[in-house]
Subunit: 388 residues, 2 copies
């Protein structure tokens, strides 16, 4: 087990109807003027917006609205929001939405207390030294941003999607009501499940000393998510399954499933190149194609790890180590298919584009991505080619 | 899954040599004068005391010492420490030790900012409204106090051991270096493992709706601890096994293993009566006797739950549900025996005392303890009798 620091201070208010506590919670923290960020209006159609606003009003909280966050949240929006937060002197930011809205709020919170451009954090020019507090009401189980230290932005000027990590990105509180996800489409539900599994699997598949406890937690979480995912394909309003997936979303990306392990999130780095360029590819759908292709490419470099995974997560039995390891990619692909996920990039209607994608992912061949085998431009190109 | 609030804000600094960061961490928080609590001097023999003091001195931190915390920490000591903390105006309390020292420090922290007697919190007369921050350097893996909201004190005036829960009892930080536990005796190591397992099993065995994810995490944690415990009986300085048990200690009692479930900790309530009266019985050793006896007594009230546990944790297979359920108590007992734990109360050299213990546990027959069957005086007496 490698040394680690674990810090997941977000207070999670989990359960039915709990979004109505938003105003009371914010009042308890003592905030009187907040910025409310949300997406493209689905929360208005569902009535959630009204309920949140009522809860805020009841508690005497003044609201600066900043709706219109796009999927793969844009740097330009965040710049504008940070300026508004400064001008209006808001004390905290409430994100009502999924990972995009939360990430947009986190970046805004960092930008609102500095003269720097927010992109400096993504590009590693600087690290945040402070931020406004962020709270969220989660409406989709996927990104895990509600408890994570990460925040991913897309800079459309240079077509780059990139994240930065900071403890200032930890939400102060997260209100998680699984009922709010009943209306999430089957496709988006499936994308979320793939994203959650990826957060766990990427921490699992790293070069590392043994970490029995972390392995067991990760494997258990995956088994629960796989099972809940199957239920949700036919019963979208099954509370237990929605709750399992929502809580797994938080635990998959709050670092619990990676304690004592290297933390490289290789597949996310490949996927960011993909959906950075092809904005219409949902992050989870991209991962559903990439993960099995990556596993197929690298499993021979650590067959015992892949074999353990196949046995404990997918109940593969009676195979020798190498065969069990090699079965992983197929098991993942089969499961993702049952969720209606694609297994090849061509299904998105895009051309074979492995060279350009590998170029993007390596920032013009200037970096390698850590994995069982370090992935340089050429290896990444081969993985993308294998996805087509 | 029941609604829940999860809040585990303790920053965990886990790994080799990390106790030397104590001073730097405290300085980072901005505290300049602290109270140092520790036990009966083993940290002086081991050299840990000197290393901590050096780290504090290097960072210019003034120290008020309060050594001599006893196992099953005493209210009288806490009262004295709280007075000292007030008089000396310390800004935080650093606990260097195990659960007793940390609990003593937590109670002191609550007592230092109120005019109330600390026992008012244990006796439920009042709830803490504030507390000094507490940090710890953990030296034994057992109680999980380093991340828990609980704090257990013994009032020797009335022979009662009782805990109270509060978010003010959450440590600000916990420094967890598994190497510090190499010198913990085989017996104390085993007691700790039983305590850790009990924290998880007590949350597992509650009347409840299904909680697949929480179950899987609990089962995985138990499997890892059971395996590491076996290793430690012959290899007390096996880092991986020590690390597994130490991290499991924190996760077993920070509420993770109980999310969405009822939280009654029935067996701990029975054991507090036992070691409250017989101070020489180590908490874990008492639990090792009580848990199988409790399981034997109640398993028929929920055979499917016990059968799931037997299959997933102890790899019991090929039995019908009731037989699998009934095998749980034996599996626990057998495992605890491999750790050198007792399986009967008479092994402690105490007389059959089930009536008095049941009387103590029910506060003179004024309460029942929640479990699969509510445990009133008579049922508790039968369980204690079954332990003899």
């Amino acid at each position: 087990m490698l040394d680690f620091t674990y810090y997941a201070p977000t207070k999670v208010l989990f359960g039915k109807g709990r979004h109505r506590e938003a105003g009371a919670v914010i009042k308890e923290y003592g905030f009187k003027k907040i910025m409310l960020q949300y997406g493209k209006g689905s929360i208005k159609k569902s009535g959630l917006y009204d309920e949140i606003m009522e809860s805020l009003k009841e508690n005497g909280i003044e609201v600066v609205e900043m709706g219109g966050v796009e999927p793969n949240p844009k740097l330009s929006f965040v710049r504008e929001a940070a300026e508004a937060a400064k001008a209006e002197k808001v004390e905290m930011i409430l994100a009502v939405g999924g990972g995009s809205v939360i990430d947009s709020s986190k970046a805004t919170a960092c930008g609102a207390v500095t003269e720097r451009d927010v992109w400096d954090f993504s590009s590693r020019k600087a690290t945040p030294a402070a931020a406004l507090p962020v709270g969220c009401v989660l409406t989709i189980s996927a990104a895990g941003s509600e408890m994570s230290s990460s925040c991913v932005l897309t800079n459309t000027e240079i077509n780059v999607k990139r994240g930065f990590n900071s403890d200032f990105n930890r939400c102060r509180f997260a209100i998680c009501n699984p009922e709010l996800t009943y209306t999430v489409s089957k496709y988006q539900t499936a994308c979320g499940i793939v994203d959650i599994m990826s957060h766990t699997m990427e921490r699992y598949f790293t070069v590392c000393e043994p970490t029995d406890l972390t392995d067991r937690i990760a494997e258990g979480l995956l088994k629960a998510v796989i099972s809940a995912g199957k239920v949700l394909m036919s019963e979208p309003d099954n509370y237990e399954a929605r709750a399992t997936v929502m809580w797994a979303s938080s635990l998959s990306h709050n670092d619990l499933t990676g304690c004592g392990r290297e933390n490289s999130l290789a597949e996310h780095q490949l996927e960011h190149a993909l959906s950075g360029k092809y904005d219409f590819i949902a992050h989870g759908a991209g991962l559903a194609v990439l993960f099995p292709a990556w596993a197929r490419f690298v499993c021979k470099a650590n067959p015992s790890r892949f074999a353990q995974f196949a046995e404990r997560v997918f109940d593969v039995s009676g195979k020798d180590e190498l065969s069990a390891a090699e079965s992983c990619a197929g098991c993942m692909e089969e499961y993702f298919k049952t969720l209606g996920m694609p297994s090849r990039l061509r299904e998105f209607g895009i051309p074979e584009d492995s060279e350009a994608l590998a170029e993007l992912c390596t920032f013009g061949r200037t970096r390698t991505v850590k994995s069982y085998v370090d992935l340089d431009y050429d290896k990444i190109r081969q993985i993308f080619a294998g996805c087509h």
